[in-house]
Symmetry: C2
């Protein structure tokens, strides 16, 4: 939601419909994101999004059939850019995991991201096709990025080659997601560090 | 949903309103559970529950304000009885974990439980008070039961006393819940066994 000033584009003699459309689309997603953060998913309405974005309600319905679809695009806009981004590889696996996983808990602690994530998770439970789509486009690339970093560590002899790769990724990420989702404990950096240390006990090759 | 035959209660000369109420309540919960399994949460209606339970819709609304409340009671009925049940303790921690965790994945594989669990999780995301209530009454007792069993293993010198108790429970349960919820992999008994073996590597005392 950070706004940066951009240089004025060259003046045009007539409005460009595609640019105007794109501007309206962005205004709608920004408005939806702000409102979601302010009032939550249940009290979010298409009317309020339209008013905040200064567009007609019919403009929203031209692109999205329901508020759930708008929220999914807000989610994709906020998280899609970084999906599947490779993890840092300094050669120190626990340190690299700390860097990335501190970022994950910081993001979950953001009130807007918290609300969007919860709305998306609720929608995914009701809609297996949507769940499949989000898993393929957003979740799986992130799991694969962790898998890649762990493979590099395995090749460097730092983790046991006999371990199940999917389970090693789950041991790192599932406790965080579970704790956040069920609200069963604090998601501090200290928690993340202890989690990583505990999982590393399982991952290290046996002497 | 298991039905057991019970001895006839003594005949009464007039109907007992409390017994009749209880019978209606049970019929409504049974009907709601069956319909949820058949059509899913989104297509579940109060009308259909009333028709299946052979009660008036107003009878349902006397006890529950909305279908989400009915489904929560179906959930509590199906799972509440076993909440916080102690884990077996044969002295063999991995074997005891396998027994209990096979049961968990079998339950998640049941289509009705799958639908109910997903509906409840979706509701919990939208309603923090409900989430708090379910966590306190159902989830926390189950986490505590695992914590107890791990404490016994620690006292028997089988797991490292320096580990964070909450994290050790999360390492066992969060991967299963996460995999089920995000549909990112199969929940077989073999998966559970590998998960337990991997976590046990982290838990065992260092020589």
């Amino acid at each position: 939601m950070a706004q940066t000033s951009t240089p004025e584009e060259p003046a045009r003699t007539r409005p460009n419909p595609r640019r105007r459309s794109e501007r309206a689309r962005k205004a709608i997603l920004t408005a939806a994101g702000e409102l979601l953060g302010e009032v939550g998913y249940n009290r979010l309405t298409m009317e309020a999004i339209a008013a905040r974005a200064k567009v007609g309600k019919q403009t929203i319905y031209r692109w999205w059939p329901a508020k759930s679809a708008v929220v999914l695009d807000v989610f994709a806009e906020l998280t899609g850019g970084s999906a599947g981004e490779p993890l840092p590889d300094t050669g120190d696996l626990p340190a690299d995991l700390r860097t990335v996983m501190h970022g994950i808990v910081d993001e979950l602690a953001d009130p807007l991201m918290d609300r969007i994530n919860r709305a998306v998770i609720a929608e995914m439970q009701a809609d297996p096709e949507l769940a499949e789509h989000l898993t393929r486009t957003l979740l799986r690339p992130n799991l694969d990025a962790f898998g890649e970093r762990l493979r590099a560590a395995r090749d460097a002899g730092q983790i046991d080659p006999g371990l199940d790769p999917a389970i090693t990724v789950e041991l790192l990420l599932a406790p965080i997601q579970n704790r956040w989702m069920m609200r069963t404990g604090a998601l501090s950096h200290a928690y993340v560090d202890t989690l990583i240390d505990t999982v590393m006990r399982a991952l290290r090759p046996r002497d």
